[in-house]
Symmetry: D4
Subunit: 173 residues, 8 copies
């Protein structure tokens, strides 16, 4: 089956963060491609990627970048379907530079921006977008959310049972 | 036909901005509902809205709010399909409070955030999400983008023809 | 005796910080409950918690959360008595996102916000709120404050006696 | 009956904002005093005020100040019951200076901080603090909240009825 | 003679600011072109512009944009000679979004960034770049700087002569 | 008698703000000079000014500048006695740029920084510096402070007498 | 001889930073006292300190504090001679909270603010203030500045001689 | 051959960052000098440096500084050819202080500012400025850019081949 989500990032130093998008898409059984393309260092390759994305069958692209992060916005300028932007945390400014560079897009060219380093959420959002026309995927997303809820509920119960002192001791082991 | 997009905002003072989402959805021929619900002042009404949204046929919800903006994130906590957040500009902090309150969501619950006051882009993004499974809508979105391009191209030509002094004079009339 | 203060947080990763509220309430002999409830991941559980809080006898709720921190504000939207918000420090933005998400509440729904990671102060503030109608508790609060004063006074004396070079040497041991 | 809430501000230029606290306390039938005392320009008067506040019967003090806003924190250093801080918006920094000066208090001395210019919420919060031991006041607070809800509900209905174009026209009249 | 400097901006709403670059280049007798090209709305036109710039004889490009400002950085990704970026002031964030989007470029692709709305300085900087190999232009730049100095010197003298009260009265006329 | 305080600013557009320093020095009967010198546009004139300042008898220099504000720090690099810096508010960044450019000086070269647009305080601070060895001036400073206190006290009394509604009405006339 | 400079800080956790002020005053042979007084935890002790400071012979007070840093401003409200404020770096906000709390003082009550953690500069500034009426101290300050210059000059020479690669190797040993 | 680029920094603590400018200039075969001059601690030496720079044959100066960074702007005030500013990251404010101090220059005196710690880009920008009149250098710059592109392309291929899990494992070795 053809991939429906393209994951792209500007540098392989973003891979550790961006791989969280891939991981959650695997859990949700959504096909994806993942690649590194620098809009700044290889603009031609980038253009070809963005122009060819619809024909490859991508329905959503997840683009992550840090600093003066142009990859998500430029992808959205070329690719007509939804683009999700992941602002990567930076050492000097904490990622507020990446966030502003991605979210403050001009009228006409939206980028669906998630939290700084929020690649996992980018993956979930991509799945939700596909789920707008895919009942089965929607079901898997709901199961996934139920799982998150249960995880917190279990922690909540444990805290109620053993008290916060004990809980912290176990966490810090 | 049932509305596919719900537009909701926390206060009618946000309506002037949020109506831009409605306007662009009309242009793109996407059915929508628009309403005012305060997650803070009427939490029960809000809960019913968010829980009933899927059954009403909404495929996307656009939620706008300012300051400690909880409406988009709380909608995303309940509604399983994509939620788009519009941070409304604030007088004291320029909307950076709204932006952080909407975009910095925890893992598991994404909100697709657009620019401060970026309701028009929220509308376009909602349409793009629907277009992932609607070729005709995708066609209309491409036409719309072409229109934006032509508008800028026309201005570019005019500037080339009359020069910047004349252009500015006409703009400031 | 029934607990008068509810301490709630969105994630068990906040427990190390939030436990400081519990600790100071113990010192001040104020009954409390402490639990983990994610407004985002388990909105129904959260609603039940907030709605049932008054009947359980809570007079104050302390809510801590980080990032797009909606727990304190949503609690305040449902629970009619005072809600104290603790913004949890975040890795990327230092907690300014948590702070804005908690303090910038719209008219009608106040959250009594304390410093970033200021859970100890949240506990003291909860006690002060109860002390508005409890002379004995007020007495204990004044003793506690006197203790803080003595601690600083002792350090001040020591510094005067041994000089700053010696003082720093001992501190860095 | 003796006033239970003291409202104090550092300058009469803050009165327009701070009077919103007085107004809401009147609605909720809570007795209050309102005065102007500069901690910086009249530190002795300020000390006497803060020291005498408990004997005057104040259960809560609302303190508003802008810029390097020390009034709320210094009041909390002397007065043992709850102090609510209102950061006043500033021309240069939008009030982020006032906010940080009020909310970032050291351990031991909490100030219950509300939004920038959030004096109305400060009044409501003061009432909620008193309501922790006053069932009738709690009743009035709930009525007040119900009123806020109805106001939004009415707007919501109107919007549903006349549509956003008409609604905006009427608002801008 | 062929233009040596290209001035480009993302929207004609930036023209009022960006025309200051053109004005100072005229004073310094440097040939330039000025045009409006949106990297987001017309990416193909933009690519052709940036790729053809060297052949047209441009030695420097001045690019101005606001918000998620990608035009300067994307130009620098394609055009091998110096690109000067002008961050345009924005209503919500004052232009700090534009500044970060332009200045925080990754290693390999510099953009010479000037102050927010600093188009006049962008023009002067372009001239200085050309002056590195053009003694006559360097002479004109020095004359221009001398003129600036004289303007301030004249004001300084006037202030010394008439005093600040009189000076302010005349300024406010 | 020779002037003891030099007031200098980078542009005559700062004069309206900086004249507040002059005004308060007049009230406190401290001799001063006031002038406009741009460290950037006339570096030689600036150097001569800073180098000659001690011989002219200046004991303190007050320097105001906005944006990348180098005048105060460069004065402090040359003049051995205290330099007071006044960060001037800017349109885009509110003066946080001016503040950082003035206050964040490296070890060895302090600038005594006051609030954004705080020229009046700069004048008072200059007087306090001189008052460290001038008992009479110290007396005048104390009188001045007493005057400020009385002004607030009078407002406080008026507010107590006529109530806040009436007070606001009179203020808004 | 009586101390001419008082160094005070809100917490002994600030001592490591604040001791830099003491060290430089020793080098410059200026008598000083150093102590820890919390304006928040021991307001009475603080008041006595600030009120008695002039009689003790202090000509300048250096006050350091972090977060909602009220110590410098409250000292300036009581002590009539110059107060120098040192904003202490904070973990969450980097010290921008401390900086705003100290520098943004209202008209009438200046605090001479130095850089975040800039205690060494606070010491130098205190000396410069005393030097306004003490030629010998001014001489020592000039010698100190000459020493700083020589240190940099020596590094500059070494860099010229051994090249940057060798220089960095030696530095990183 | 005489050096065409001067690299200067305010402190040898900036050398580790600033040496990246030197390294890239070596790769591009551009002659340069590198030195440490503090505009604050040795203003006379600095003035001589800036005034003599043109005669020494410098066509561009790269100046790096942190905090209240005045070196780039003061260099630009004296040297008539292009000055490139490198804002050095700071511990407390992440370098936003350095950035504002360098980029927000007044009209007339541009500094070509690069990213925080962006010394490598400063070197490339200097080379591009020289390349405006040096075809061979332009050729070397294009080769360098091609090299960067190949590096990313190789990573991209590797990722495609071995998958992200394996890629991350190898990176973390």
């Amino acid at each position: 089956m053809a991939a429906k989500v393209g994951i792209v990032m500007g540098s392989d130093s973003d891979l550790e963060i961006m791989s969280k998008a891939a991981e959650v898409l695997e859990v949700l059984k959504v096909e994806y491609d993942i690649t590194v393309i620098s809009a700044h260092r290889m603009p031609d390759v980038f253009y070809d990627y963005a122009k060819g994305a619809e024909d490859k069958g991508y329905k959503v692209i997840i683009a992550g970048a840090g600093g003066a992060a142009h990859l998500p916005g430029m992808t959205a300028a070329i690719f007509s379907l939804p683009v999700i932007g992941v602002p990567i945390m930076t050492k000097s400014l904490g990622g507020v530079d990446s966030l502003y560079s991605i979210v403050q897009m001009p009228a006409g060219i939206p980028v669906a921006t998630v939290a700084i380093n929020g690649a996992q959420n980018a993956g979930i959002l991509a799945a939700k977008i596909l789920a707008a026309s895919d009942e089965e995927l929607l079901g898997r997303i709901k199961e996934y959310a139920a799982g998150l809820k249960e995880t917190v509920a279990a922690k909540s119960e444990k805290l109620a049972k053993i008290g916060y002192q004990e809980y912290l001791k176990e966490s810090n082991k």
